[in-house]
């Protein structure tokens, strides 16, 4: 565990953010943009397992928290998509990252000036659709009537708590049209390339050593100059 300090926004003091790092000062330094919200929990162990394999293969791996998530002290409701993009770009610079691995919705905030990979990238609308649906199903079970349309309208206006994450109106609105974009030097690693079921689908957090092996191997091959 390490920390890094994001640059201070206007008038607010900068707070240290925690970072999980395999940092041995090597030439190849991979910034990992984690999956979001519920998927972050389900993919946390997988993410670290991939980082361990890359560490053994000679790649430094740096996994910052998104501000407002995980160990971050920043309030989640105040976070914006642009703010997260800025934070990931600042982390890349502060940590001297040479490449980026973005996981699922992490692809929405991957710094565009780093070469790297989007693993099974997730769009903002699909992310919201899944979370809204979970909420309407739970509401129905509880005998409450909530419709997706009403919830979307509320989210845009006042923000919305989905699966326990309090998403502010700015982040909510931005996610409605946020699509992952591959910057030059970045390529997509689809789940079909890795093989096996995506661990974010799993009802309970799980791990899969074979998938972690294959994702890490793809990245190592690609770093060695083979086509991704």
């Amino acid at each position: 565990m390490f920390t890094w300090t994001p640059p201070a926004a206007d008038g607010t003091p900068a707070r240290d953010e925690l970072l999980v790092a395999f940092d041995r000062g090597r030439d190849l330094r991979l910034l990992v943009c984690p999956a979001w919200f519920d998927e972050a929990n389900k993919l946390r162990r997988f993410t670290i397992e991939v980082m361990r394999r890359l560490d053994r293969a000679g790649v430094d791996c740096l996994l910052p928290d998104l501000p407002g998530c995980n160990e971050s002290l920043a309030p989640l409701t105040e976070q914006t998509l642009q703010g997260w993009r800025t934070a990931m770009a600042a982390a890349a610079e502060a940590l001297c990252a040479t490449h980026v691995l973005a996981i699922r919705a992490g692809a929405l905030v991957a710094p565009p000036d780093l070469p790297g990979w989007h693993y099974a990238p997730q769009s903002g609308p699909k992310l919201l659709r899944g979370m809204i649906r979970a909420r309407t199903i739970a509401a129905r079970e509880a005998g409450l009537a909530e419709t997706s349309e009403e919830l979307m309208a509320e989210g845009r206006k006042a923000g919305l708590t989905l699966s326990g994450w309090a998403i502010g109106p700015a982040l909510f609105s931005a996610l409605e049209s946020a699509e992952p974009v591959l910057a030059p030097g970045q390529s997509e690693l689809a789940q079909s390339v890795i093989g096996g079921p995506g661990l974010w689908l799993r009802a309970e957090p799980d791990e899969d050593a074979g998938q972690a092996d294959r994702l890490a191997a793809r990245i190592v091959q690609s770093l060695a100059g083979a086509p991704a």
């Binding site: 519920d38 309407t136 199903i137 129905r140 079921p197 689908l201 799993r202 009802a203 309970e204």
Partner: protein
């Protein structure tokens, strides 16, 4: 994502069971043993609303269907047979 536009009964059965295996972390063979009366939502503790939402969203992707709020009720999610009948109706109704 594979979108299967011409799923017959057997293919739909395979696809749905494979999807449940993915969500529940089962071996495909275990999911193949699901029958019409196998209980799902409300019977399997790990299948909570978040997991069901993931299941439905993945069904949309893999089967090429759109599932509306009004489609989703306790009955349709209660057993494997009901979920399959729902998917069949959605595929037939396009």
């Amino acid at each position: 994502m594979t979108v299967s536009h011409n799923l017959d009964g057997a293919a739909l059965d395979l696809e749905l069971k494979a999807l449940l295996a993915d969500v529940l972390g089962l071996d495909p063979e275990q999911a193949q043993a699901f029958g019409p009366d196998t209980g799902l939502f409300g019977h399997l503790p790990e299948l909570d609303s978040m997991a069901v939402a993931g299941l439905l969203t993945e069904m949309e992707d893999r089967l090429g269907i759109v599932i509306e709020d009004d489609d989703v009720d306790g009955e349709m999610l209660e057993t494997y047979g009901a979920l399959r009948a729902f998917a069949e109706a959605k595929l037939g109704g396009r």
